[in-house]
Structures are given as structure tokens and as C-alpha cells.
Symmetry: C3
């Protein structure tokens, strides 16, 4: 009889412990992403004819008075690939713009979407943040998503994977989602 009651008490205690330990685990795992994705995005600045708008890159405003391009706004429509090869089949497009926002050094600010190819339905991830180009890695925010990435939130770590002067650059985008729906 006493042992049955003991079991009940232990059982209820277990309930509390399990719920509080779940909360604790949640805290510990807080920064562990629920989803992680790595993509490469390729910006082709120069396509051989040096026009201001080639097929994926369009300079809207070029004040031309700044070595650091301060004030330049660049609209892009860039292929995204799973590896660092520009000629791999793109899985989507990076669309949006960046601007150069400092006089003394190269630093950018960007807001854009990854729009994924999909036969079934459309998916996208939206990003915004400061991009101090001279740093090895830069974190920006995932500010939302649609389709497969419905309600997504988290951060993306940018790393310049290749840089060929005024011709081409490639960013490695390491996406760590901390809200998955």
C-alpha cells in the first residue's frame, strides 16, 4: 500500500522534473539550429562589356566620387548553387540589393531573398543586415521565409569565398535557422 503511494509521488515528481529538464534542455539547445543549410551565391559584376547592367548585376546609382563606392546601390539577381562552382545547376536565385555605406573602407548593407526553384510550391528565405566586407565572416538576420521556410528565423554567416576585383565575387552563406515551423 505504502509503496503504491510512493510510486504515485515519484510519478508526479517525475512529471515536474521532466518538464523542468525539458525547459533546461531547451535553453541549452537554444543556439543549436533546428535547420542548417549552406549555399553559394555568385555575383557577376562584369560580363565582358562593362555595362552597368549585365544579366545578374545592375548598379543603380554610382556617385563615382568615392573610392569605397559609398552611396552606390547595386540590384542583383544572382544564381545560388550547392557547391562553390559557378557552373553547377543553380537551385535558385538571390534577389535584392546591397549598398556601400562607408567612406573610409569597403562595407556594405544588404537586404535580399533566396528564391528557390520548386515544382510543387514556391519557397523563399529573406535576409537583412550589415555586411562589413573586410571581416572574414559576417552575421546577418534571417527575417522571414515562405513555403518550405514558412516563418523561418535565425542568422546567416556570410564568408567571401572568392573575390576577383571588379569582375566576380562569391559568397558562402551558412544559414542557421533557430525557428522552424
Amino acid at each position: 500500500m505504502g509503496s503504491t503511494k510512493l510510486i504515485l509521488v515519484l510519478f508526479c515528481l517525475l512529471l515536474i522534473i521532466s518538464s523542468s529538464s525539458a525547459a533546461h534542455k531547451k535553453k541549452i539547445q537554444a543556439r543549436k539550429p533546428c535547420r542548417r543549410l549552406v549555399f553559394y551565391f555568385h555575383d557577376i559584376i562584369y560580363n565582358g562589356k562593362n555595362t552597368e547592367c549585365n544579366f545578374s548585376h545592375c548598379k543603380c546609382t554610382s556617385l563615382g566620387q568615392q573610392r569605397s563606392h559609398f552611396g552606390d546601390v547595386v540590384v542583383f539577381d544572382d544564381p545560388i548553387t550547392l557547391d562553390n562552382n559557378l557552373h553547377s545547376t543553380p537551385i535558385g536565385r538571390a534577389q535584392g540589393f546591397y549598398l556601400y555605406d562607408k567612406k573610409e573602407t569597403f562595407t556594405a548593407w544588404l537586404v535580399f531573398s533566396f528564391v528557390f526553384n520548386s515544382t510543387a510550391h514556391k519557397s523563399s528565405l529573406n535576409f537583412a543586415g550589415a555586411d562589413p566586407l573586410m571581416n572574414k565572416t559576417r552575421d546577418i538576420s534571417v527575417i522571414g521565409g515562405t513555403g518550405d521556410f514558412f516563418m523561418a528565423r535565425g542568422i546567416a554567416t556570410l564568408r567571401t569565398d572568392a573575390f576577383e576585383g571588379e569582375v566576380y565575387f562569391r559568397l558562402c552563406v551558412d544559414i542557421k535557422l533557430s525557428k522552424c515551423w
Copy 2:
């Protein structure tokens, strides 16, 4: 005596089941919005004099070299109405900008706010995302809100409800909030 213990055991079991079933229900309801709103927003491109800035639409940069308007940036301050009638009393303004971001076809990227008329306090909803105009519907992210829409998140489905060449277009914006505070 034994039945009382049984009741207690069942009671505790019920506690666990109810909490796990609540979690399950939460998962099922995940994509069901906590708030849904439909608005129309009216962009008047041409006001009879074909200036680059009329009362609600201002083209910042027009590179003029692209049939698809690639690189053009358009700032807008457009009326929002509850029905598809441009002459209905506006309930607020859509303010922000869009840019055309592809060479081959018409596709846009936009970031803007719905700023609602309100006597008591100010409310707004903020949006960002890719807008591939040739698709029947396009999903963008609700990236935040203020006032009545404090901490709002979700998606908005855009549909071109009317399009009159270089004169006027109307978007139906079906807002589905999945975070309501």
C-alpha cells in the same frame, strides 16, 4: 481504496496525455493563421503628366536600358482600401519601395509598410520579399508590426488584381499572421 489510487494514476496519466495532445494540436494548427486580413493597394504610375514623381509613385533610378526595367527603383506612397475600388476611403498607406531585379522578365523585390490611419494610436505592418510578378500569387514575409500588430509575423500572399500598363496596378494583399501578441 484501490480505486482511489487508480483515479490518481489515471489523473496523472491524463495530465501527460493532455499536454502532449496540446503539443500535437499546436503542430496541426501551426499554419492556421491567428489573424487574417485582406487589403488592396493601388499604385498610380501615371497621373496624366507622365512626370517621374506623381503623388504616390516616384521612380528614383531609371537606367532606361532594360525592357524589363532591371535596376529601376520605385518609391511609393499608395492608398490601401478594404475593397478593390480605388475611390473607397483609404484605411492607410503602403509606403516603401520596390525594385525590378531581373533582365529577362518582369520580377520585383519589395520592402514596405502598411501604415494604418488611427486616432488612438499608430499601427503598422512591415513586409519584405521577392515578388515574381508573372506568377499568379506570390508569398512575402511579414517581418514585424507595431501598435495593434505588435510583434506580428507571418506571410502575405500578393495577387495582381488589376494591371493597366504604365498607368496603374492594384495588388490584393492577403495577410496571414501566425504570431499574434
Copy 3:
């Protein structure tokens, strides 16, 4: 014997009450920020030579046809301080842009980051929203953060703290985060 059972019943009841009261408390505290920060940001429009790009402010497009600057896009890289003194040591930079988006009156729309100085790691907060300058205070959304502000969300109340015509303005930014990680 009966009292032990009673204790068990009360114990289980307590479990339910505590969990539901926690939920209630959560609801009540909903709008109470988990973190609050006040900063000043200084935009120096004119630096003595009236160039379009001085060290912290760069006008990308100036259509020049509007008294209200409708359509103008301004890129900035402004110091942030803890008090309202421009000469205090900046704790970071406000980087992004604003645009003037109305014909009849001064009203802006902005999207930017606060990028904080940090030796250990980089932290930033990202903002977006409408900024009707003529209102005493304006709320915009905190759309994300990185580093110390990982996954941050909330609102920021802007107040024009000083305005010296075409020379200088200072914003007081009262940040109220409702999601802290």
C-alpha cells in the same frame, strides 16, 4: 492514510494551477520588454562643403523636383552614442538607408542596422519601418539581431531629439525587445 491521498491530489492540482498561472503571467507580461536599450544616432547631413557624400551621409538619388524630397534615397553610416552628445565616444554605427516617400509632407521609410563595437564578437540589431517625421514618436520593428542580440525581436520608438535644418539631426532610439534568446 486519507491525508496522504489528499496531499497527492493537492499536489497534482498544484501542477495544473502552476502551469496555467505561468501561462497567464506570460500573457500579462507580454508587452513588458525582456530588454530595453536607449541610444542616440547622429546624422550629419552637411559637413561644411555641401558635397552630396560627406563622411556619414550620402544622398544616392535626389530628384530635386520635390519640396518634400519625395523619392530621395539617403545612405548613412552614422555614429551611435549612449547620450545625446555627438562628441561622446560612439558605441557603434547605424548603417543602412532611408527614403522620403510622400509628396505633401516630410515622411520617411527606413531600414538599417545598429552595428556595435565589440572586441569579443560582433553584435547587431536590424530595424525596418515607416518613419512619419512630423509625429513626435514613431514605432518601427526590430526585425532581427546577431551576436548579443541573437534572434532579437521587438519595437523601437524613434524621437527626433534635435533637428538643425539641412545640417544635422539626432534621433533618440528607445529599443524594447520582447524576444530575448
